[in-house]
């Protein structure tokens, strides 16, 4: 590699003085225009253009990477936290309602397990509400959270009144329980659902942002590289020397910069998509399945609580089961999502089997109730027996919960991978662009200096 040596004088005669001599003192544009007619001025001009491009590429590259990490941070925190909280809220409320309705059927003396499940569901719901309240950012979401907050104590009040009347042996307890479920079904669950959809929409928006390629930074890097190459060719023509070490160094650094930027962006987009496809997508499906199961369970209990007076409960039960088991229903979608994962696939199969056992048993419960064997119907529905629907329902729930845990781990892993890819990239890109800038400046300044040597 040729090293700097005094330049052969070129066609442009060296300028006599530092301020471009040919220029009449006047407007600065005139002075710049005059300077650019001289080689040192031209060299400085090239340096300015290079500096703008390299710094631009560095700054946009760094900010886009920082933005990506922020988004990934957000998917695991902010709107990520909101969507998780909204989902947990929805699940917990469905579970509270299903448990309250089932335990009403046990004639005033719910099992300790049922009491515990109900209390846990209420705790989860209130914690999720508090979390959501801290994360919401739109007026609509604030209102939804406030509505849910206002209704939850009304709901629990109705449930406790129902329990008390039930203990006293007064049938009006059943009406209170139905009213509680109506409040839950018609006002609270829809609010929780809307909150969850809003959070997911915000999440998808930022996810698209994270997956986007940093085109601005890429364009600037290419422009900077192009200018560098052109500048070297131009210098070679002017100075008859092939290489300018500074500019070559800057070129190499910028090539590394471009490679790192592309790699980090593509990899993080891949990770983000993976976390969506393998993590949050199936997580949403699993949560939906769990919610549908809980709601079907609540309707099944209401059917028995209403003692045959509530045909709508039967319809709603059938709708929720349909949602789960129909062709293209939630189980089918889960099977598709876990097609290449035997472990998760097996759990979905277990859930499907439990759901089938449950819905077969449900037919038996309805038949018993219609025939007047109410006590047997209740025992089959909420008893502790191996063959009871409580057992199949618990099995379904357990399978879905296990699948949810595995899926949640994958989501976190993918997000961590994405963050690892990006970690250091922002600082590295900033350092590379600064180094490239210094190299270019040194390389050009050496040439400029030769004119004044």
């Amino acid at each position: 590699m040729a090293v700097q040596s005094p330049p052969a004088p070129t066609q442009a005669p060296p300028a006599a003085g530092p301020p471009a001599p040919g220029a009449a003192p006047g407007r600065w544009t005139d002075r710049v225009a005059a300077a650019l007619r001289q080689t040192p001025g031209q060299l400085r001009g090239v340096l300015v253009v290079l500096a703008v491009l390299i710094l631009g590429a560095g700054v946009t590259g760094m900010t886009s990477i920082l933005a990506k990490s922020a988004v990934i941070e957000e998917t695991t925190s902010q709107s990520g936290r909101l969507s998780v909280a909204a989902l947990q809220l929805y699940q917990a409320l469905s579970q509270a309602d299903a448990t309250a309705a089932s335990s009403y059927l046990t004639a005033g003396t719910p099992s300790e397990e049922m009491n515990e499940t109900y209390r846990t569901a209420l705790r989860d719901a209130t914690v999720a509400l508090a979390t959501a309240a801290g994360e919401v950012k739109t007026a609509e979401d604030v209102e939804l959270v406030a509505q849910l907050n206002a209704r939850l104590p009304v709901y629990t009040g109705l449930v406790e009144t129902a329990r008390t009347f039930n203990r006293l042996g007064e049938p009006v307890g059943a009406t209170y329980q139905e009213q509680a479920s109506t409040l839950m079904r018609q006002e609270m669950l829809p609010s929780a659902h809307t909150l969850q959809e809003n959070a997911l929409a915000q999440l998808t928006e930022s996810r698209d942002g994270a997956a986007a390629f940093p085109w601005a930074a890429a364009a600037l890097v290419i422009a900077a590289l192009g200018t560098l190459v052109w500048a070297q060719l131009w210098l070679t023509r002017k100075t008859n020397r092939t290489f300018n070490l500074g500019l070559v160094g800057a070129t190499v650094l910028l090539v590394v910069f471009a490679g790192w930027l592309a790699m980090a962006s593509l990899a993080s987009a891949g990770h983000t998509n993976r976390s969506h496809e393998e993590g949050s997508g199936p997580l949403e499906l699993l949560a939906q399945a769990e919610i549908a199961a809980q709601q079907a369970r609540a309707e099944e209990s209401l059917l028995l609580i209403a003692r045959g007076e509530d045909d709508d409960a039967a319809t709603r039960y059938a709708e929720h089961i349909e949602e789960l088991t129909a062709d293209g229903g939630l189980f089918d979608q889960l099977d598709a999502a876990f097609a290449d994962d035997a472990g998760l696939g097996a759990k979905v199969d277990a859930a499907r089997d439990a759901a089938t056992a449950w819905s077969n048993g449900h037919g038996e419960v309805v038949k018993l109730a219609q025939e007047g064997n109410y006590t047997e119907a209740v025992a089959l529905a909420v008893g502790d027996d191996e063959a009871s629907l409580q057992t199949s329902f618990n099995g379904l729930n357990a399978a879905l919960t296990e699948a949810t845990e595995t899926s949640a781990d994958r989501f976190v892993d993918a997000t961590l991978d994405a963050q690892r890819t990006l970690s250091g990239a922002a600082a590295g890109l900033a350092a590379l662009s600064l180094a490239a800038l210094i190299c270019a400046a040194v390389g050009i300044q050496v040439r400029v200096a030769e004119y004044y040597a």
Partner: protein, 320 residues
Amino acid sequence: MNRTGRTAAAFAAAACLALAACSGPASMEPPSIDVPTPLPDGINFSPDASPADTDVSCDPLSSYSPGAVTAEQARALLENPEQISIGISQSTNLMGYRDPETNDLAGFDIDIAEAMVQAVMGDATKVRWVPMNSAEREQALADGRVDMVVRTMSINCERWENVEFSTEYYHAGQRLLVAKDSGITGLAEMTADQQVCTGASSTSVGNIAAVNPEVQPVTVPDFNDCLVLLQQGTVDGVAIDDTILAGMAVQDPTLQVVGDAFSEEHYGIAFQKGDTDLARFVNGALADMIADGRWQASYDAWLAGPLATGPAALTTQYRD
């Protein structure tokens, strides 16, 4: 520091304080949301009222005279001669309901039905209870799902087209249930800003309007919701058949049934169309039950307390 400098510093400090006061969490208006009032599904605050139709197309209270039909002849008409199927309610407190503690059927209707089972089958256990809601009653008989229905079913000419009725076994009427401390003693004195709850049939709304056109009627699909609404203070009174009101009053010591009945409902046992011999036999059994005091004993056990009156007189009429 000179004077100007000091003023500037003071300004800067003030500006900082002001900024600090303004900053902080994003200032979002607190949301305004409605006070949550739990209301039942399908509640109607402005129901249609139509006057009760005076049934003159037939003489609804006239049933078949007992004559000389034997229990055997009656049993021959059953879907299964070894087991009689009876349609009942399991959700109407004091009439036909499940005791929440034992899950067993109990109530005035059940007493009547059990007496009929004993009479027809000679064995109180040869029975299959079929719970049903009021809309299912006629269809269940037409389909042969049940042999008879004892479920607060009013006798009227329209129903006579599809089923056979026994003689009247209970004379019911719409009355008013209010809080004891409300001071209301009858429907007529309720005011325009008071609300009275009833079932979703337009006739019961019409009956209320005929007595008191001022009071605001509210209807719910399931009349059990009326009691909850009264307990929650959403309505001031409940105006339904006294049998239903008794079942509500007995659950809440702060409520009472007041005023006279302002409509007439005659409950009868319904049979499949054409099962006249079963109707005849049951009419005989009913007459025995009324004559030997079992009917009165059942009334006293279930309804006398909450209604705080004696029973309205029964009409026992035969068409042949």
